[in-house]
Symmetry: C2
């Protein structure tokens, strides 16, 4: 047990902490490299959630409001999101995807999904996928994902 836990710890660190960039870089479709991972995540959240406030985005992305403010400015300038004022609260701004933004998200989802799917299919057989799902569910629970993000 101690030996296995030790190995699990090392693998966890290697895969979870240092593996992310490698995976992202190996996606060879240029479309997903037009934006940063954080920008893509933001657009996907908006797409999934529908119009949303900047403050909610900050919670969901786990960062300060200033980071959101900055990111939104960039995406707005590029025409992928639009800001709509709130009727009920003058301070609040609603963020929506533009058509261009929606198109992008659709494409990005397909590319990412396809990439990961083939990554898994190429290395994992049907039986293992089952285990993968279990492990990932557990990981998700461990990492408390979903608490700030839908």
């Amino acid at each position: 047990m101690e030996k296995q836990l030790k190995e699990a710890v090392e693998l966890f660190e290697e895969v979870i902490i240092y593996g992310t960039e490698r995976v992202l870089k190996s996606i060879d479709n240029p479309i997903v490299h037009e934006f940063s991972p954080e920008q893509i995540q933001m657009m996907k959240i908006i797409d999934k959630h529908g119009p949303i406030t900047a403050g909610s985005l900050a919670v969901m992305q786990g960062v300060h409001k200033s980071a959101i403010s900055n990111r939104l400015k960039k995406l707005e300038e590029k025409g992928f999101v639009q800001i709509v004022k709130s009727d009920s609260d003058q301070r609040t701004k609603w963020v929506e995807l533009t058509d261009e933004g929606s198109d992008f998200v659709e494409k990005a989802r397909a590319i990412l999904s396809s990439f990961i799917s083939s990554l898994l299919s190429d290395h994992v057989d049907e039986k293992e996928v089952e285990q993968f799902v279990k492990t990932f569910r557990k990981l998700k629970e461990i990492m408390k994902l979903g608490e700030g993000e839908r």
Copy 2:
């Protein structure tokens, strides 16, 4: 199968691509927040490998040499690494950890290891650890980790 693969894909994305920051942020020991994850990784590579060239670090960390050059400058300024000229090739520089650097790596390893260990122990029973290790080994293989990094 299709349904499970779909779920695996979504979980993969959530955990691997967007989960990293959450994990790192939840470590509450301030020591590991003195440096960025990339800086820590660099020091750990040097610690593990011994004196190493900047070019090798670039390969191992999967980035351009300029990123390494920049990062080394910062760590050298802080006194955690030192640069030694090569006898056999005037262009090459060998990078070593200072005593302070080695101390830090030792501490960081303990903190990270302890954190992840308790993270896993708190949520995973003995039987599951076995599965975790298998899954992580597979992930490591999938992500081609270790090819550019020891």
